[in-house]
């Protein structure tokens, strides 16, 4: 409900800006800022002459991108969790690895993308995997950093308790550290989910992969002057895909983290 109101408010402000005819900082003509109704209308017009409606075309593109993003998310979270575990196990590895993990995110993705695509083509991986790898590059980071914090979050007494039971490190990891890390991991998973979509779209554009949202955005952008509302529609579709993956992770969190945060139950 709040979300519907928020969208309506944004659309209203958008139209108000146009009505006022302000030209600074952005000019409000129909080319730079098409009417909200035109953008909505664009979803129901054919994407190409005689083709599917844009909405359906974008759903198919989004599904294509979602597969790459999902693969990137899966690989990224796996790598992130492995890195966090390795760093948790050894202070020396943590000190050696953590700076590189941080530096990794300062390299612009568009610089890296063509390299990965070229690797993929010369080694015959196929572009889907290349795009997923580019997405992985963004997703592993929050999981590794927050995961490490989460795995280190149990009290020393909890770890002593496990030692008193002569528990091996694997049991301590799966029965104490990982469950304790959930409040740290889920925010990282949410971030990683939206980043996986960003990574996939950037990857598609860099690799020139056809069929996904990245290509649609690029195609519509080159024909911007003839159909500006289509670009906006494609951007909205990308945003909705991000929202969708965010929602999936949030549902998983609700299922896996049962503990209510309410204070009153503690007062018993």
């Amino acid at each position: 409900m709040t979300a519907v109101v928020a969208v309506a408010v944004v659309a209203g402000l958008w139209e108000l800006y146009k009505v006022l005819g302000v030209n600074w900082p952005i000019s409000s003509n129909d080319l730079t800022m098409p009417h909200a109704t035109d953008i909505v209308g664009a979803f129901f017009e054919p994407a190409q002459r005689g083709g599917d409606p844009l909405a359906w075309f974008l759903v198919k593109s989004a599904f294509f991108t979602l597969r790459e993003a999902a693969l990137g998310f899966a690989m990224g979270t796996t790598i992130g969790l492995l890195l966090a575990t390795v760093m948790m196990r050894s202070r020396i590895i943590e000190r050696g690895l953590l700076p590189w993990i941080n530096i990794s995110q300062t390299i612009p993705l568009i610089a890296l993308a063509p390299i990965v695509v070229t690797w993929g083509r010369t080694n015959g991986w196929g572009d889907t995997l290349s795009v997923a790898l580019i997405s992985t590059y963004l997703t592993f980071f929050p999981v590794a950093v927050n995961g490490l914090k989460g795995l280190q979050s149990p009290n020393p007494a909890d770890i002593e308790l496990m030692r008193s039971y002569a528990s091996g490190w694997k049991d301590t990891l799966f029965k104490v550290r990982l469950p304790a890390a959930r409040p740290f991991l889920f925010p990282a998973f949410k971030l990683a989910a939206t980043l996986s979509v960003v990574g996939a779209i950037v990857g598609e554009i860099s690799a020139g992969v056809r069929g996904g949202l990245g290509r649609s955005i690029l195609d519509f952008a080159t024909r911007y002057s003839t159909g500006p509302s289509k670009v906006y529609a494609a951007v909205i579709a990308a945003g909705l895909l991000g929202l969708f993956v965010f929602g999936v992770v949030t549902l998983a969190e609700r299922a896996l983290v049962k503990r209510p945060d309410s204070i009153e139950t503690r007062a018993l």
Partner: protein, 279 residues
């Protein structure tokens, strides 16, 4: 039979640095099977360190600990002891019974066996109806009882307790002391109990080990044989006499020598006779 034999045990933290602390200095002690021993002393006297060395949670600098005739490391691997800390340390994501079952899970007990034992243990600590609750739904005292049930779930012969009731209010604390004594009597488990409370140490123990700090040494060992231990004994002359004895020992540490402690004790002893009179 000897449950715990401490031989020439020393523990130095941060050796060679300016922050060097001699937590324990050549300590010797024998604890018999079935005994209830309290460790008491001012902050920094090494009582928690001693407990952790017995449990092989720390490596001693020199000397050693034998638990049931084997090195403490082996005793830990054999799961010969259970441990209870000041914070109950229950896991939020597990129900009360799943918390009690945790050590059994690690030891590979079958599911049926685990649930039977957790039910028995929760009944032992009088929380039979709370197995399906989550820890955050229980009061502090109840949580600590779950921690005791968890420590006893695999029937260890030795129970190490590190200020287990330190965070509880006075009334809950006295109830918990009675519970622990009942469990001690029922199961015959050897218990080593770290505390700050003189009354608690005297009420619970067969012997009270008084430690002095910097370096941590055994100042004195006080035998307490109170016989029946119930609420009434807390107000008896013999109870008062023993708490006074422990208090004197602790004062002796504070004023830097046993002699000065002896002088102070005059006043306290006469006080003891006064309160003892009406009984």
């Amino acid at each position: 039979m000897t449950a715990v034999k401490i031989s020439d045990l020393s523990m130095t933290f941060g050796a060679g640095t300016p922050a060097q602390v001699n937590a324990l200095d050549h300590v010797n002690a024998d604890i018999a099977e079935g005994e209830f021993i309290s460790l008491i002393g001012p902050s920094g006297c090494g009582k928690s360190t001693m407990l952790r060395l017995i449990g092989d949670l720390l490596e001693p600098t020199s000397g050693g600990v034998e638990v049931f005739g084997k090195p403490s490391a082996q005793a830990r691997l054999d799961r010969d002891y259970g441990m209870v800390f000041q914070q109950a340390g229950l896991f939020d994501w597990r129900t009360v019974s799943a918390n009690v079952e945790l050590p059994l899970e690690l030891m590979g007990h079958s599911k049926a066996d685990r649930s039977t034992r957790s039910r028995q243990m929760l009944e032992l600590v009088e929380l039979g109806d709370f197995g399906k609750s989550y820890p955050w739904q229980l009061s502090g005292g109840m949580q600590q009882r779950v921690a005791i049930a968890r420590a006893l779930s695999f029937s260890p012969r030795l129970l190490l307790m590190d200020e287990p009731f330190g965070a509880l209010d006075e009334m809950t604390r006295e109830n918990m002391q009675t519970e622990v004594l009942r469990i001690h009597k029922e199961l015959g488990t050897t218990i080593i109990f770290v505390t700050h409370s003189i009354a608690e140490a005297v009420f619970l123990s067969n012997r009270v080990i008084v430690l002095s700090p910097r370096p941590g040494r055994i100042h004195s060992i006080i035998d307490v044989e109170l016989g029946r231990r119930d609420a009434a004994i807390r107000e008896s002359a013999e109870f008062f006499k023993k708490t006074t004895e422990v208090r004197e020992a602790l004062r002796g540490i504070e004023s830097g020598g046993i002699e000065s402690g002896g002088i102070e004790s005059g006043g306290i002893e006469s006080g003891g006779i006064e309160t003892g009179d009406p009984q």
